[in-house]
Amino acid sequence: MRNKSLLLILFSLFTLIPGGCQKEKSEDTEIVIAEQFGLAYAPLQVLKETGALKDAPEGTRVRWVRTANATAIREAMAAGRMDIGFMGIPPFLIGADRGMDWKVFGGLSRSPLGLVTNLPELRTLQDFAPHHRIALPQPGSIQHILLSMAAERILGDPQVLDGLLVTLSHPDGMNALLSATEVSAHFTAPPYLMKELNAPQGHLLLSGEEAFGGPFTFIIGVTSAASAKKVEPFLPFLMKKIDEACVFLNENPEEAAKMLAPSYNLPEEELLTLLTAEGTRYGTEVLGLNRFIEFMHAAGYLEQPLSAEDLQYRP
């Protein structure tokens, strides 16, 4: 009896072991691409709307997955369940620092970001007191790192505001800020940024570019070394299509707004103002990788001195 139950336990343990060694073998190669929700991902939405990936290289099938945050993409890629993902630069660097073998193959967008408050007493970062709360998507996100950069420059310590952080998704963060409870400021992205700035008393404490000290790429495309063989024939095609979608978004925003309004569930005019907002720019160049690495290493968010050169995808 004892032996039997022991065997049963061992057996159930082995079935629980992660690994995903048994990938389904089919004729087509399926490429799983993970993205998140937001205007910064508009080029990908254009690809979906126009069906531009239909004429992918022979035998390649694309499956889109949408996650709530970069952490989920990172975990799925570590487990070998996703091939290509789109996220902010800091979550990518944290993964690389912890030993994930993955590379940047290109940028997707630049975006205005900002720390908004509706409290008149808050004018600069120096005005934050221990009872204030700052909402942002999560520690280690680009919003958190930008806040940290500004905290170092203005207050002399990158971690000094970390005790005030509250993790809320963009819409929850906006609700919390506008409902005048503990959340005193929110580091967010469009369209929430504009909505909060238009609310009574809403004002910008810090913009992303001020925090960073220049322009930077908001969202990048990443692929893992484990998928290298699979994505190699597909990636140049994808990059070309993304590039075309970016040109379309930058040059024909009216047409783009019309096409994307239903999927973003926004009125066409509002989407157009967002697409053409100052600081929004679609493009495949990657800006600011080095500065993020330097800062995050100096501030202790990265343990290893990474090299931007080594993190670039080379076919």
Partner: protein, 259 residues
């Protein structure tokens, strides 16, 4: 004596086997340590976070919130259940409340709690109270219902006032159900606590075990995630073995209500 020891011996044996299988899988199956870190790595992080005080402080905070939530939840539960047992209109009210709130997961209430009470400790306690209160009331009511008629008669015979009747007859008579409700409440309180802490973040640098685990997750420190989980597991075992067992031994087992 041997009989007393054996559950501990068996359990330790199973835990040991589990750890060996875990370590072997992590080492030899080719799984990335980011997905499944080796046991040794996890314990290293566990000890270093215990030593630098961060884990202990967060654990104490979490336990404090649970204690507050469990205390308020079970007190409210007793009041509601006793009220419902003594007074018919209250019974209808409590039944309706149970119907509305009992099936409602705490997580579903998050957006409302954030809007109404913000994201501080108070909101966490409210969510714990919600998860403790309703199973407590349900268990107590079913305890009251299964109270042997003879106990009631004794109370009537002594001409006990309603308050004394509740205190001397109703509550002790349904103590096994109270303990069962408390155990469910305890487990549910942890769920509410960890999910709330993961969302609400740090206040004054401390965010409890949920925030500890969440922070490890976003910085991709997988051994740290396991360290947080181990603390929760150990607390669960200790409370079950030391507190619940002792209370049962001293009450329902001694009174012969449970064998």
């Amino acid at each position: 004596m041997k009989k007393q020891l054996s559950p501990w011996v068996n359990r330790s044996l199973y835990i040991l086997i589990l750890l060996v299988v875990w370590e072997a899988t992590a080492r030899y199956s080719g799984v990335s340590p980011l997905v499944l870190p080796p046991v040794s790595g996890v314990f290293k992080v566990l000890f270093s976070s215990l030593l630098d005080g961060s884990l202990a402080a967060n654990t104490l905070l979490s336990l404090g919130l649970i204690a507050a939530g469990l205390g308020i939840g079970s007190t409210l539960g007793i009041l509601l259940a006793v009220g419902a047992a003594r007074w018919k209109p209250a019974r209808d009210l409590v039944d309706t409340l149970l119907l509305i709130f009992h099936p409602l997961p705490g997580i579903a209430l998050f957006p409302l709690v954030i809007l109404w009470f913000g994201v501080g400790y108070f909101s966490i306690v409210i969510l714990i109270v919600h998860s403790v209160l309703w199973p407590m009331v349900t268990n107590l009511l079913s305890g009251f219902e299964s109270l042997p008629e003879i106990y009631r008669m004794v109370g009537t015979n002594y001409q006990l006032k309603p308050a004394a009747f509740s205190f001397y007859i109703l509550l002790p008579g349904s103590f096994p159900q109270f303990i069962a409700g408390f155990k469910i409440g305890w487990a549910r309180a942890w769920r509410a606590l960890i999910s709330a802490e993961m969302i609400f973040g740090a206040a004054g640098g401390l965010g409890g075990l949920g925030w500890f685990i969440f922070k490890r997750r976003v910085f991709m420190d997988t051994p740290g995630i396991f360290a947080g989980l181990i603390v929760i597991i150990v607390i669960g075992m200790l409370v079950e073995d030391l507190i619940f067992t002792a209370v049962e031994k001293r009450t329902v087992l001694r009174w012969g209500m449970k064998s």
